[in-house]
Amino acid sequence: MDPLLQHLERFSEVLAVSRTPHVSTWDQATVRRALQWARYLHHVYQRFCSHESIRTTLERRLHSLRKEGGLGAGPVPELTNFEALAHCDILLSLRLLKNPALGNAACHYLLQQLFPGQGVPDADGETLQDGLASLARRGSAVHMLRFYGYRENPNLQEDSLMKTQAELLLERLQEVGKAEAGDPGKFLCSLWERLPQKNFLKVVAVALLEPPLSPRSQGEELELGSPQILREGSQELVHWLLGKSEIMGAFCRNVPAGLLTLVAGRHPVLSHAYLSVLTDWSRHLYYDLQKGVWVGAESQDVPWQELYTRFQSLCQAPPPLKDEVLTALKSYKAQDGDFEVPGLSIWTDLLLALQSSA
């Protein structure tokens, strides 16, 4: 077992090096050996993918290869989970191909090995050549579907691109959580800093809705594993969202109303936070007597329309959430003086508008 674990570590380093200019020193023999190692690990994957215990041990070692501090600190660990072993040979091949530092002779040799031509049978099913061709074919399929068949689903949680990103995020979270020195919170913070925030928040929202509870999709299996793990991942996300008020604020601002309502319905803790954010926003508005509308004092204040849309969406949610929101609104209205006339208390106006649309 130990030698195998060591091999994993070594190969991980090889993968890391394959991206760097160091490959200029590689000759044909090195390339051959690297490919053989990759093929060997691919075999390891095939043999042990159904062996629960061996698989867990290997996964644990792979997780421990993560450097301290998660992604933000050190370089990205190359082999991060057991699944990655399945196509580590393709990974290596692509990296070497992409690397301009690889010498001419080595490159030529690499291409010969990767694409030997027709009629080269392999004992264990799919050859590396077939794997690469399959990748190309799938890539074209994704492109064609995206360009000619794809419509962004207005329900983001059902949108396939969003779902895929959410699944990947949860998978990574799970690994970070399992690593010995793993800190999901820090991991999420680092992502927050590096990625476009709007998209990231939407992905987080979709991830909070996995696994989907609707009866129709219960038959579909997620690749990630048991719902238990997904719930843990969700918990991490909730925890992180509630950590900093600016994050929660941005979350409530950028995620569409409908999606946010679903998330709040699923996670009561978040619904409280959401409500308090909305309350906070509402308190920033004042009534403009001349125009007869509620406006914000500063430009970044949330406008009335958006506030109203969000409350409306919440009031269309199923009972526990809906009742909670209405109770809160009514209590705020009472605190403000329980006016029935518009223009004096924002809570009155909101309730009036909501009732008239209901």
């Binding site: 196509h87 890539g139 994704v142 064609m144 995206r146 000619y148 794809y150 691109l161 895929t164 990625l195």
Partner: protein, 620 residues
């Protein structure tokens, strides 16, 4: 070699022009055109690769100056890269262009250009999913990690959109626009054989739009049909049946494909025939009357073409049996919908024929057999007088249910009394439907005589081959070239050989030593043995043990070339689609006044790409 490369050069030019026209497969017309040419283009790529791999890069650039442009344009076309093995062959061609030791900077540049294209193929169009790409990069994933998951999600979401259409009914907002469905079916054409796409293909096949026209692209049907027949895609039976109902040519191709497998040169035992027929899913599909009629028509054509070859007959009988089983599974009874399946059969005859009494003891067979014989006789005699349908119509109906003939033969061999005329007539009609009245009477008399002689033999104990020859009767002096006995007599002899213990001991020897009774034939027609013995389970092992090359039975060719009238020619191509409760999708009935006799080898499916199907002929 020079001529080949000359051809290739001109092909290169042709395809280069084509590719320039297709550009990036952006418009509808270019997509359609691309899909039409995908297989030919792949073939061309293969030929190019064969040529290029023999040359070194300099020679290549000399001989094929436009090859770089060609390959570059190919890499820009997602339809081509998505099709079958085209992407692999393009990669091979590109690898041929690489210089092992670049001497000049131009050669180095060529090398890096090739490498760039290779990378482009292997990680195609990544810039499209920009947000996703950035996200996954940050998380440390590569396309090879997440493409399968992404593809699966995209396919699943499309599938659920398609399925929702059913449920939503009048909710026009959520309904998928027909153009979008058409466009999806067009995208699927190159990708039909990708396993990830199977759910989408299935959903499209079972998708029913809300208008009367077909929304799916015809080429999509063709691609699915081809992939299904070559076993490159696995689809549930409901999807395949839906394919056949919506696209007639694929049904025809599937039936022809089955015929090819059934009537090949190699021997097929009954069990294998049944397996082949069941695997083809045709019996299940035939529960739709329209499908049954088409397949039935093709069997009829095959029988006519081969003058009633035993294999075809056997296949028809097995098919009918499987079809009845499938009907029963769907809780339908043939008798309630007889007109739908066999519209030209007189109902009382069809009803009686279709109810083969498997559980009746032999003692009770006589009555139904006599009834059938009488009905058939009436039908044949009515038909012989003037109507344009010949007696072959009735024969074809009887041929579906060959078990009756087996029962009649067995009854005749068993009984001690004089053979009833009705049974003799039935068997004579079954084996020689084209005989006229007097000829048939003679056959019946001859058969009666043979039976009498066989009965005398059976009491005697030990038998020899000569005894059998004697029982077969004298050669007719008037016509020495004709075979010594007709198919009916041969059937009775064989039945005797297999039915009695004394007969079985000498059977092999008897058959081998009596060539005029059992003509030696290089083709072993598998179905021959099916006409021996009823199709009951316990008889099967004994029968199959006799499938030896020496023992053969062959229906001799009909001496006449008299033409067999048909009630209609090959079904007309589907023109309309009928909606409604039963969801029949097309009407195909044609009653043309005069149609040329169809030939199975050519006429059924005119644009068949393969060479004509060669079915065994009556005479070698």
């Amino acid at each position: 070699m020079a001529q080949e490369s000359g051809d290739l050069v001109s092909d290169c030019q042709f395809w280069l022009q084509k590719l320039s026209g297709w550009d990036q497969a952006s418009t509808l017309e270019t997509q359609q055109d691309t899909c039409l040419h995908l297989p030919r283009f792949q073939e061309f790529l293969r030929q190019m690769y064969e040529a290029l791999k023999e040359m070194d890069p300099d020679t290549i650039m000399e001989r094929f100056p436009t090859v770089r442009q060609l390959l570059a344009k190919t890499c820009q076309n997602p339809f081509i890269l998505a099709y079958d093995e085209s992407q692999k062959i393009v990669i091979w061609c590109l690898c041929c262009l690489i210089n092992k030791e670049p001497q000049s900077s131009a050669e180095s540049r060529l090398n890096s250009w090739v490498q760039g294209l290779l990378l482009h193929i292997l990680s195609p169009f990544r810039f499209d999913v920009k947000e996703v790409g950035l996200f996954t990069q940050c998380l440390g994933y590569d396309p090879v990690d997440y493409y399968p998951g992404l593809l699966k999600n995209m396919v699943l979401s499309l599938v659920s959109e398609l399925r929702e259409n059913h449920l939503n009914g009048f909710n026009t907002q959520r309904r998928m626009a027909p153009e979008r469905v058409t466009s999806l079916s067009r995208i699927c054409v190159p990708l039909v054989t990708l396993p990830d796409f199977e759910p989408l293909v299935e959903a499209l096949l079972t998708y029913h739009g809300h208008g009367p026209e077909e929304v799916l692209w015809p080429q999509f049907f063709e691609a699915v049909s081809e992939a299904f027949l070559l076993r490159k895609i696995s689809l549930p039976a409901s999807a395949v049946i839906s394919l056949w109902l919506r696209h007639l040519p694929s049904l025809e191709k599937a039936t022809l494909h089955l015929f090819e497998k059934l009537f090949s040169r190699e021997r097929n035992c009954l069990r294998r025939i049944e397996c082949l027929i069941k695997d083809s899913l045709l019996p299940q599909a035939a529960c739709h009357p329209a499908v049954f009629r088409i397949v039935d028509e093709m069997f009829r054509c095959a029988l006519l073409e081969t003058d009633g070859a035993p294999e075809v007959l056997a296949a028809l009988q097995v098919f009918t049996r499987c079809f009845l089983e499938a009907l029963e599974k769907e809780n339908k009874q043939l008798k309630s919908a007889l007109r739908a399946y066999l519209p030209h059969a007189p109902p009382p005859l069809a009803t009686v024929l279709s109810q083969l009494p498997y559980d009746l003891p032999p003692g009770r067979w006589l009555q139904p057999l006599q009834h059938i014989s009488q009905l058939l006789r009436e039908a044949v005699e009515a038909q012989a007088h003037g109507s344009h349908r010949g007696p072959l119509e009735s024969w074809f109906l009887l041929a579906h249910f060959g078990g009756w003939a087996d029962m009649a033969a067995e009854l005749l061999l068993r009984s001690e009394a004089d053979p009833p005329a009705a049974l003799l007539w039935l068997l004579a009609f079954y084996y020689s439907p084209r005989e006229g009245g007097p000829q048939r009477a003679r056959t019946m008399v001859q058969a009666g005589a043979v039976l009498h002689r066989l009965r005398q033999l059976s009491g005697r104990g030990q038998l020899s081959a000569r005894d059998l020859q004697a029982a077969a009767g004298e050669r007719s002096p008037a016509d020495p070239s004709a075979p010594a006995c007709g198919p009916l007599v041969r059937r009775l002899l064989l039945g005797f050989l297999l039915g009695t213990p004394e007969g079985r001991t000498i059977a092999r020897e008897a058959v081998a030593s009596a060539p005029q009774v059992f003509p030696q034939d290089p083709d072993w027609p598998a179905g021959a043995w099916s006409v021996v013995g009823p199709a009951s389970a316990e008889q099967r092992p004994a029968r199959e043990s006799w499938a030896r090359p020496e023992a053969r039975l062959r229906v001799p060719p009909a001496p006449t070339t008299g033409l067999l009238l048909l009630r209609q020619g090959p079904p007309r191509r589907w023109t309309e689609r009928r909606g409604g409760v039963t969801r029949e999708h097309w009407s195909f009935l044609v009653e043309p006044a005069a149609r040329p006799r169809p030939r199975v080898s050519r006429g059924l499916v005119p644009p068949l790409p393969r060479p004509a199907l060669a079915l065994p002929r009556g005479v070698e």
